[in-house]
């Protein structure tokens, strides 16, 4: 049992700091020109070879500051109290679809559809205009984890992944598979740190004796049975947990538990991402890639996050219940969350998606995804059921024949 004093102390601390704290992660720049720090040019894009932003005029290359260090998001998790939220996780306003940017170069007003893009060229002076402020439509995260793997490396991995899965793949998939159609996509995640106290209660059993009993069945038959005696224990574990960088999907479309429209579990499976290396947002990182807008708020995902905290608590309790050789049945669980910190981060994925052309609209979208940081590759390849059925039948028949030879042999011997 956890000491009452410790519990009371934690509860008191949590009450004292129960209000939400917002950390401003917006860049100081105003919307419009996003200039190269050396020459002032606006034609800037992320180069995968340099792994940095590169100015097209002066070839100056640089990266934004590490977001954790720049905004103080790396402070000790043990000291977190209440909810600390980076400003990029603010609630989304769905009605924000267009914005008017005033070009600081020539004064023209350019309308930009912020649901689709965060940059536009001024139609008069050709300067690139960017959304630099954190507009509340979910399109601007606190931090971006830039791509590391090149497109060619991703194509190679996707090709190899699908190449190993050709024999039983659907015929149309094989015909239509073009790995060059891979897209670079930024997917929004909430990255959560948590300081909590977890309590688990249940029942465990320890074997005290194992014995065999020979029992007579019918006239001449005997059956040997093994029995186990066990001591039953009430088990309780209480501990503090500091969770660092738990990631949770924050776009409904990529909800890992919903695989009805698309194989979202594939995107979930290519994790982890080294989110601690994410850099402060700069719209130029998103240029030439597509990005999915965050459409879930903190309160939409907090139940999921609590479930994940509990799952982590259960996993961490496992090494402490080794003595219960018959297992433990957890019956009650709970966490007292003392503090959390929320940051919205765009993570990079090379994504190949395939939907069966013959099935038309609404058919399942199969993804083959490559984590563009560490190269983890996972995918879903549509199968040809008749082919699998044929092979399984053949293997089953062979097994049946072998089973018959062995079985009848045994029968005749016995």
């Amino acid at each position: 049992m956890l000491g009452d004093e410790a519990v009371a102390g934690a509860a008191q601390a949590a009450r004292k700091h129960s209000s939400n704290r917002i950390i401003d992660t917006s860049s100081s720049g105003t919307d419009g020109l996003n200039k190269c720090p050396r020459c002032g040019g606006t034609d800037i894009q992320y180069s995968l070879t340099a792994k940095a932003l590169v100015c097209a005029y002066c070839r100056h290359s640089w990266n934004e500051e590490n977001a954790e260090q720049a905004f103080g998001l790396d402070s000790s998790i043990a000291e977190l109290r209440g909810h600390t939220m980076a400003s990029g996780t603010a609630d989304i306003q769905e009605d924000l679809t267009t914005m008017t940017l005033k070009c600081q170069g020539c004064g023209a007003e350019v309308v930009i559809n912020v649901e689709q893009q965060l940059q536009a060229r001024c139609h008069w002076c050709r300067q690139t205009l960017s959304i630099n402020s954190q507009i509340p439509n979910g399109a601007v995260p606190d931090a971006v984890l830039p791509f590391h793997l090149t497109r060619e490396e991703a194509i190679e991995r996707i090709d190899a992944f699908a190449g190993k899965r050709k024999a039983f793949a659907h015929a149309r998939f094989k015909e239509e598979f073009v790995p060059d159609n891979v897209m670079g996509v930024y997917i929004p995640y909430m990255v959560v740190d948590g300081n909590m106290h977890a309590v688990l209660q249940g029942t465990g059993e320890v074997t005290t004796r194992q014995y065999t009993v020979r029992r007579r069945v019918g006239k001449d038959n005997y059956v040997t049975e093994t029995y186990y005696d066990a001591d039953v224990y009430s088990v309780q574990r209480a501990f503090d947990l500091l969770v660092d960088d738990l990631t949770v999907e924050s776009a409904q479309r990529f909800d890992a538990k919903d695989n009805k429209q698309a194989t979202n579990n594939i995107l979930n499976a290519v994790q982890p991402y080294d989110t601690e290396k994410a850099v402060a947002y700069n719209s130029n990182y998103l240029k030439n890639f597509t990005s999915e807008r965050r459409d879930l708020n903190v309160r939409d995902v907090d139940d999921e996050v609590e479930d994940r905290f509990l799952a982590i608590a259960r996993a961490k309790a496992s090494p402490t219940i080794g003595r219960y050789d018959r297992g433990v049945r957890w019956e009650q669980e709970g966490v007292a969350v003392r503090g959390t910190r929320w940051v919205s981060v765009y993570v990079p994925v090379w994504l190949y998606s395939y939907a069966d052309s013959a099935k038309g609209e609404g058919s399942l979208v199969h993804y083959i995804a490559v984590n563009a940081r560490n190269g983890n590759t996972m995918g879903s390849v549509p199968v040809s059921h008749p082919k699998i059925f044929a092979v399984a039948c053949a293997a089953g028949s062979v097994a049946a024949v072998i089973g018959a030879v062995v079985g009848f042999g045994w029968f005749l011997m016995g």
Binding site: D240, L241, A315, S380
Partner: protein, 106 residues
């Protein structure tokens, strides 16, 4: 193949053959168990290898976590003797994703 398996399972003769473990008669059931068993294993195995429907990020193991201040409260409450199974019923200590009754923790 599957209806055949169901039919086989429903057949009282199969049950008799399986129950009669002391004789070599169980051998007769071998082909009827091995065939459908291998069929299902091959079908599911290939399907999973292609579709990867079971793959996910094991966040509960891969997330960086520090644990401290562990308090254990274990107390013997009784015995459970003459059990046929090697493991207790309802064990869920390895099923980290299944949630149980939520309690309020102060």
């Amino acid at each position: 193949m599957l209806p055949l398996l169901a039919e086989l399972a429903a057949d009282p003769a199969t049950a008799m053959l399986l129950a009669d473990s002391d004789s070599g008669a169980i051998g007769i059931a071998f082909p009827f168990l091995a065939g459908p068993g291998v069929f299902i294993a091959v079908y599911v195995g290939i399907y999973r290898y292609y579709r990867n429907t079971d793959k996910r990020h094991h966040f509960e193991k891969e997330t960086e976590v520090s644990v401290g201040n562990l308090k254990q409260g274990d107390r013997r409450v009784g015995t459970n003797n003459r059990q046929k199974s090697r493991s207790m019923s309802g064990r869920n200590s390895t099923e980290h994703l299944t949630r149980v009754r939520r309690i309020k923790v102060q």
